[in-house]
């Protein structure tokens, strides 16, 4: 199903907004250097809202454990907990494991942003 979310100019470049579609799917939609992106707001690792994260290049950094996902490919590209740091001992693989972002197809038509939720 295709849903209209807002006017394209309602979201500034390099920012985002979260829309709840069908009272159940939270979609994080925004622009990164002029390019539109849309994905499920739930972090594939442990479900934190990605909208609380920040950009690092073309990645969104989750605020909970700082996993970094590419916002266009959805791929998990960096996982700080993988590294053995000063005091934080490496976590077990089952806890660390994470899927990739759930991307949604979004597009602009006649000045409005639409998203397709399968």
């Amino acid at each position: 199903m295709i849903h209209r979310l807002c006017n394209a100019q309602d979201i500034a470049d390099n920012s985002w907004n979260v829309f709840t579609v069908n009272n159940s799917v939270d979609v994080m939609v925004g622009f990164r250097n002029g390019k539109l992106f849309a994905f499920d707001n739930s972090c594939p690792h442990k479900g934190a809202p990605l909208s609380k994260g920040e950009f690092n290049g073309d990645r969104i950094v989750c605020h909970r454990h700082f996993y970094e996902f590419n916002i266009f490919s959805g791929k998990l590209e960096n996982m700080p907990s993988w590294k053995k740091e000063d005091t934080w001992v490496e976590q077990n693989p089952a806890w660390r494991s994470s899927g990739d972002l759930k991307l949604y197809h979004a597009f602009i038509k006649e000045g409005s942003i639409y998203v397709e939720i399968p």
Binding site: S24, K46, H63, T87, V89, N92
Partner: protein, 201 residues
Amino acid sequence: MTDADYAKTSKPHPNIVAIEVLKKNGVNVEKLKELITKGVGAEFTTYYYYTILRMHCTGLEGEGIKEIVEDARIEDRNHFEAMTPRLYELGGALPRDIRKFADQAGCPDAFLPDNWEDINSILKVLLEAEQCAIRSWGEVCDMTAGKDPRTYDIAQRIMQEEVEHEAWFIELLSKRPSGHFRRKFAGQSPHTGSQGGLIHL
């Protein structure tokens, strides 16, 4: 069989008004149950790991922080106790297998650091664990504020104690005053309640 299915009854009740009203208020109940299951998982595993950390608060310096670690340890167990009944009210369940329960926990394992004889290394692990707890209960508060007063009430009580725990460990690491003074008894949980004073008993 999904994780919660093992706990299902043979005659599910068709009409639970306390859940219906949440949905009408726009709460994503499935998502909420997921966050709570992960949140109580983190409390339970943290309680376990804090036991090990507390045992390793040794020597003169260790003795100085032992009691405060004990407060944080017992209070995390109290957080598990305070929120778990709410998970069941919402129609959720703890994972059947404790291994799965630990792997799905919303915060990392607070393992004993290799250089634990340096007391600061233990404090850093404690601090990071508290900070993760603040983030995750904050998410539950955000999801329920103005929509699900019962879950919100429990989550905000837990949050109050997590914020205190963070402040204590920051004080010990950096000297920044936290306003801390000793609890009346170990693991008192002034906000969520402790043994004999659980908020729902």
